[in-house]
Symmetry: C4
Subunit: 204 residues, 4 copies
């Protein structure tokens, strides 16, 4: 099975997820800058954060399938699982935003991030499994430090949102900080895959 | 006619259908787990079920058109008919969900599933007809047990929703069980097509 | 310039237009068949009609660009003009539907159809102009009877909606009949283009 | 890295942005031409303007990536930045429209246009940087008069909206005029890139 159609379908779903979230930005009722600040509140921040996360997943998905040559039934379903987790972003982002970053919605956003990260790792294993341990993709991933650190940081965020400073805002602030930190770690695209991709392509 | 553009258009429509349903998930009014349960109710279950169904149709569509080499006018219209049936999923899912799985909306969801299954079969016949009885696709489909059993199970679900236990919930529970059962049957991708596809591609 | 990206972008826009209209179907408030009839009213009819029209445009667009080899700046803008006209379908369909097929909304729907047909003809001329009078596309179009009859039928519909039976429903019924008739005429795909496409492709 | 998937993803996002704005057009409450004028107000004008702007960006994006052969991590993120700016169009257009072209929303629309223009220029630099100063793209851009004049015109519009005629409509009218003028300048596609593209392609 070719990878092109799986990529096209994923592109379509990710394009919709990344764009649909702008519909959450409510038009202000007044006509001034103060109205804008009041209406969007932290909404623009949430929108940027979710946009960046979907962008990161698209980038990594793009990198991974550049080295993939084969699609199996397992890859199709793991990919649909990833798209499912990402499709919940507009919902969890909207709740976090409308609740003004309350404890449980912030925790749930972390759970959504964690679920997406876990399913992405499953997808990676399944894709590697379809290509064998000697595949360029396996070498490109290597130790995959980022892929191991991210779930830990999400978990720290989730636990802080739940247990730190139950009557104040500190736990929520630390959790949000964790989510932003992971985004910053991933904004740098995966150089190793890029390098291996060049090596694989250049001999052709 | 090439199949690439028909596939791209179908991918676009399916990507939108599968993503648009998340907009039905209403943001809870409070900020706790109890509010989440109250707001989404069985909504998440309906969303998962419809997501899985669209995913199944995408997978099978993908498999079918991997073996298709020609597109005729009849294929274009049968494909549009399938997309039309699937485009009604967000509507029938939302009603089933908002009515809290009442009798008639559950029945209507089954009718929608049945209509999609019938049109998919028509599409399969038209595609095979365009390639001749000796085509790899014809051999790949073979006896097509799943394709024959699914409409029967949908029909059982529809009849149970209508006639079983008119004053209780049993009929609706059986109907929902039928719909979930068909989804589970199809989650295993069609190995026969995969196998024939490999045989067709490998001699090239 | 290659045609592939223009086709991909048009596919995306048409896929969204054709799918977004299902959001107009309001979920019924009760749980019975009568509630469904009351809630959707003529909504399903409007949805089917608009779905079929977008499907027809997609089919014809698909046929036309199968024979096109070159894209010029004029083609890009004529294509955007066509997409603009089609993007107004969800608006004009929704109004026609919510007004319960009142005189002016039915007339406006006809104006929208007429505008789309005119811009489609402009696009066809521009594409032919980019390929020269000896191009296969020019021959495939031939006399283009359908392309000439459709605007006339839309015009008849518009005039009937405006002037026939101002205090009754007859004008609106005739107009709707004209719109349905044109759809039926076009559902048969353009055999001439298909034939020429095969002739052009087969010598390769 | 190939450019095809970056183009496909951008096509998807732009297709959604350009189509989603039609949802802002509210269906009139009455059934007459006067109701239509009252309901859409300047809405259709805003819709056309934003549609044309997204169309312009798609055209220029299409031209640019026809000459691009390589995608780097920087190109991916600059492209996502451009898509982010454009994804805010439905929001800023809707506010400008609902506020009946009030001072600050008109100014904000200009800021959105300016931000998109700046990020587009950054994207252009990054793409040229990935291909070297001798690349066809570098020559195709040349002096890039339009790319330099547009931000200045946006800036003039923003300043007029803020400072000219604070108690009247003149500042807003001049600002809107500036935005329309830039759109008119860009509707003519970039002939230089088209010419170089032909020269690059023809020796193949």
């Amino acid at each position: 099975m070719r990878t092109s159609r799986l990529e096209a379908f994923s592109d379509g779903v990710l394009a919709i997820i990344i764009t649909i979230m702008v519909l959450e930005l409510k038009v202000p009722e007044g006509n001034t800058f103060a109205d804008l600040r009041h209406a969007t509140g932290k909404g623009l921040l949430s929108y940027v954060l979710s946009f960046v996360y979907v962008g990161i997943y698209w980038n990594n998905h793009h990198h991974m399938f550049q080295l993939a040559r084969r699609v199996t039934g397992g890859v199709l379903w793991a990919n649909l699982g990833l798209l499912f987790c990402l499709s919940l972003f507009p919902f969890t982002t909207a709740w976090m935003d409308e609740s003004d970053y309350a404890r449980f919605p912030v925790l749930l956003f972390g759970v959504n991030l964690l679920a997406a990260a876990c399913v992405y790792n499953v997808l990676q294993w399944v894709v590697i499994g379809a290509h064998g341990p000697e595949s360029p993709l396996r070498q490109a991933i290597g130790a995959d430090l980022k892929g191991r650190v991210s779930p830990l940081l999400y978990l720290v965020g989730i636990l802080c949102a739940q247990f730190v400073d139950p009557h104040g805002r500190l736990g929520v602030v630390i959790a949000s900080g964790c989510y932003i930190l992971v985004a910053l770690i991933w904004i740098v695209p995966d150089r190793r895959i890029g390098r291996v991709a060049r090596e694989v392509d250049s001999p052709d």
